[in-house]
Amino acid sequence: MAKATIAIHGGAGAIARASMNAGDEQRYRQALSLIVADAQSRLAAGQSALDVVTEAVRQLEECPLFNAGRGAVLTHQGQHELDACVMDGSTRAAGAVAGVTRVRNPVLAARAVLENSPHVLLIGEGAESFAEAQGLERVENHFFTTPQRRAQLERAIADNQMRLDHDAGSLSPDRKFG
């Protein structure tokens, strides 16, 4: 029988070894290591794949290094609009939210759509209302902002460009995305 297996990602892009200092690289590696190790433990304990991917992504959303949840990039207007999706391979059940601005963990809202809604994708205010009715934690939009993301936005506006997250740089230089 195949073993339980987990993989996670925190975005792709123009991430060059030469452009990242050792401290930043260590922070990324440590965050990824802790989250994947926790997921491994959950799988070893018999948790379902659906529960494990939901929790892994929730933890990634809580880490300000990555472009999701806290630490997400900013729109031209200086706001955060967050999107998430969860899908269960056994049942093809799926849940997703788009354009949410005050749900602390969009992946939990997506999971709630999967479990407690006849729909697949909710957007904007409808998704916010649904998440609130589900009892999910809500925060002010600026909760997601970090100084690095604010600086990225200012550079992108100055250059009149849109940038994928790792190409725009967080702790590292100006090129990464996801």
Partner: protein, 135 residues
């Protein structure tokens, strides 16, 4: 963008993807991440989470394309993910990567950019963390 895919001890597969989108994007722009089949997909055969040029992943239904190449085309996980990320996405001018796991527990983490923050592990074994292409 962040994501996770897993195969549990009962053989179940699942995928999740979450994102803040693109810096300096137009308000209301939605990419592939919340769209089942584009940036996130799971079936009984494979689970996929994508990251990259959202509009290109949407136009290709990239995550579902991996599943379709496997189910209808008979490709292995490695072949299907390589074809999507290294051939089809670049053909439309896109870049990025994905993570995927199949029903046998095989993993694929291809990307066509310089790097991808990624990690994987099998229950009970040491996890592997990588960032750069040469990792």
């Amino acid at each position: 963008t962040v994501g996770a895919v897993a195969r549990d001890s009962a053989g179940g597969l699942a995928a999740a993807t979450s994102t803040g989108g693109i810096t300096n994007k137009q308000a209301g722009r939605v990419g592939d991440s919340p769209l089942p089949g584009a940036g996130c997909y799971a079936s009984a055969g494979v689970a996929v989470s994508c990251t990259g040029s959202g509009e290109v992943f949407m136009r290709l239904l990239a995550a579902y394309d991996v599943a379709a190449l496997m189910e209808y085309g008979g490709l292995s996980l490695a072949q299907a993910t390589q074809k999507v990320i290294m051939e089809k996405i670049p053909e439309l001018g896109g870049s990025g990567g994905l993570i995927a796991v199949d029903a046998a527990g095989n993993l694929a983490l291809p990307f066509n950019s310089e790097g991808m923050y990624r990690a994987y592990g099998v229950a009970g074994e040491q996890p592997v963390v990588a960032i750069y292409r040469e990792d």
